[in-house]
């Protein structure tokens, strides 16, 4: 008897969106019929101009905005539709939320405690551990992550005393604290001047170096998108107008491609 051909196991995509519709509530910022799959290990950049729906798509992927129509699944688990007025708390079940690390545009660090206390608190709360041993574990984890993201000097300061770049790095450290398998970064280069850029590159290099980690970056920094994300998803007026290799998009006749090219130096465009 002939053996059946062995087919390799096909892993479910991390995100699978089909005909997804979402909105912020007003006329602006809506998504229409979004269809896309993101697989494990992919590095994806979300790009678009103002009011293109990029921020909303990022929030939908991060599980922070409910989907109004269509179907969305995360790690193969279909997410239920939630009415807009019920959007008070977590949309994602804890088992899925634990696998995502999210940096938002507004860092959202707890303002009434130091960065260290905030990070330790979130780590403890997320893992539900409160024994002295686990408290020590949380302290060590925060210390280690602080060193990794080069914010160890500011760990004992309150967020209002941090520079914009330090806040972004602390936000990245928070997103990375529980070692998520998927990292979503919203405008990671925001607030970094030329002098701080090396710190950002070092943090992103570290995140990027874990090859199996899925990375989604929502950014208007074309240079950053080119460096870290081979796949680009370009939004315009609430719809995805391009989904494919970033370099191909730059050489396409699309109007946005011209605008993105102007943001790059001539030698970068040539390369």
């Amino acid at each position: 008897m002939d053996e059946l051909p062995v087919t390799p196991p096909v892993a479910a995509p991390v995100w699978s969106l089909s005909q997804v519709q979402a909105g912020f509530g007003g006329a602006e910022g809506r998504l229409y019929d979004i269809c896309l799959d993101v697989h494990a290990g992919e590095q994806v950049a979300l790009l678009g101009t103002e009011h293109s729906g990029r921020a909303l798509l990022f929030r939908v992927l991060a599980g922070l905005r409910p989907v109004k129509g269509g179907e969305m699944s995360l790690f193969g688990q279909k997410l239920p539709l939630i009415p807009y007025f019920a959007d008070w708390d977590q949309i994602l079940p804890p088992s899925l939320r634990r696998r995502l690390g999210v940096l938002l545009e507004r860092d959202g660090l707890l303002s009434n405690v130091s960065v260290r206390e905030g990070l330790e608190l979130l780590f403890r709360f997320k893992n539900g551990d409160h024994t002295p041993k686990h408290r020590e574990g949380a302290r060590l984890m925060v210390e280690k992550t602080g060193e990794r993201f080069r914010i160890q000097d500011v760990l004992d300061k309150r967020p209002n005393l941090l520079s914009s770049a330090e806040k972004r790095l602390a936000g990245m450290a928070r997103a990375f604290l529980s070692k998520p398998s998927v990292v979503l970064l919203e405008n990671p280069s925001l607030g970094f001047g030329d002098l701080d850029r090396e710190r950002l590159d070092s943090a992103l290099d570290f995140i990027h170096s874990k090859g199996t980690r899925t990375l989604v970056v929502s950014t208007d920094d074309v240079r950053l998108a080119l460096r870290y994300c081979p796949r680009w998803i370009v939004c315009e007026e609430g719809r995805v107008v391009y989904d494919g290799p970033g370099k191909e998009f730059l050489s396409s006749p699309h109007v946005l491609a011209g605008r993105f090219q102007r943001a790059l130096a001539p030698q970068e465009v040539a390369a």
């Binding site: 509530g25 991060a62 922070l64 009415p83 007025f85 019920a86 008070w88 708390d89 977590q90 804890p94 939320r97 634990r98 995502l100 999210v102 940096l103 938002l104 545009e105 507004r106 860092d107 959202g108 660090l109 707890l110 303002s111 608190l121 979130l122 403890r124 709360f125 997320k126 539900g128 409160h130 936000g171 928070r174 997103a175 604290l177 529980s178």
Partner: protein, 260 residues
């Protein structure tokens, strides 16, 4: 920002769901927030509540004591004080103080956290704002309101005795006997139930108003005002309703004339 029953019910549903899923009272960090809330709402408001109890009790006994003595009804003073302070004024004045001090603070704190992106930050890191922010404020606020009302009542009774002794020459034993004979177990049950549930309800409204903003700074004062106004309205209506039920239904059954 208008009142919406669907939003309020959805908020309640989210709160119950988070409570059941997270069991937040087991978290040490939540317990710390509860103790902090009790300190801010209870301990820091104690002097204001005590001051109100002293003034109200002194006025009440001064105005009514002399009249009662002239009419030969000095022994009715205990019933009057129990009706005034234990059943009505104690819970109401305490709630007014709590709403003015703490409900406004909670609503503005939560709405400014929302404006700063801290609520989304918590949600993004997998921490439920319901479990970490709303539950401890609700529990701490309810416990504080109940404790403050208890302090209000005993201070009012103590000051009532001092004034009664100097005004109508009432002895301590007679005063205590008067008070104790006027207090029924149902009075205490309604008192604790009323202060705890209304205390929880005003903090629930404060959290709802604070978190339903869309995250802009100009909504912070609006949320604070709404929380205070809605809480006051709810307190007055609930107090009137509970008192109506109490006098018409409960005391009717246990020969209410004996309490007056």
């Amino acid at each position: 920002m208008n009142f919406s029953w669907s939003g309020l019910l959805a908020f309640l549903h989210a709160l119950v769901t988070a409570w059941r899923a997270d069991k937040p009272l087991r978290h040490q960090d939540v317990q710390q927030v509860i103790f902090r809330q009790i300190y801010f709402t209870g301990t820091q408001a104690f002097r204001l509540v005590a001051f109100s109890a002293v003034l109200l009790s002194a006025f009440t006994v001064t105005q009514s004591g002399a009249q009662l003595k002239r009419l030969g009804g000095a022994d009715a003073l205990g019933g009057l004080l129990v009706a005034a302070f234990l059943r009505e004024l104690g819970p109401l004045v305490t709630l007014i103080v709590v709403v003015a001090r703490s409900v406004s603070a909670v609503a503005s704190e939560l709405s400014s956290m929302k404006a700063n992106g801290e609520i989304d930050g918590l949600r993004a890191t997998g921490v439920s704002p319901m479990s970490y922010l709303v539950v401890p404020r609700l529990v701490g606020g309810a416990v504080s309101t109940m404790l403050l009302a208890m302090h209000f009542v005993w201070i009012a009774f103590a000051v009532g005795f001092l004034v009664a002794q100097s005004y109508i020459d009432m002895s301590f034993s007679r005063y205590v006997e008067n008070i104790l004979s006027a207090v029924a177990p149902i009075d205490l049950a309604v008192f604790f139930l009323k202060t705890f549930t209304l205390g929880a309800a005003v903090f629930f409204l404060a959290s709802y108003c604070g978190l339903r903003t869309t995250g802009t700074n100009f909504e912070i004062p609006q949320a604070t005002t709404k929380a205070v106004v809605w809480s006051f309205m709810m307190c007055f209506v609930a107090q009137a309703f509970i008192s109506g039920v109490y006098y018409l239904v409960i005391l009717e059954r246990v020969a209410w004339t004996s309490f007056l």
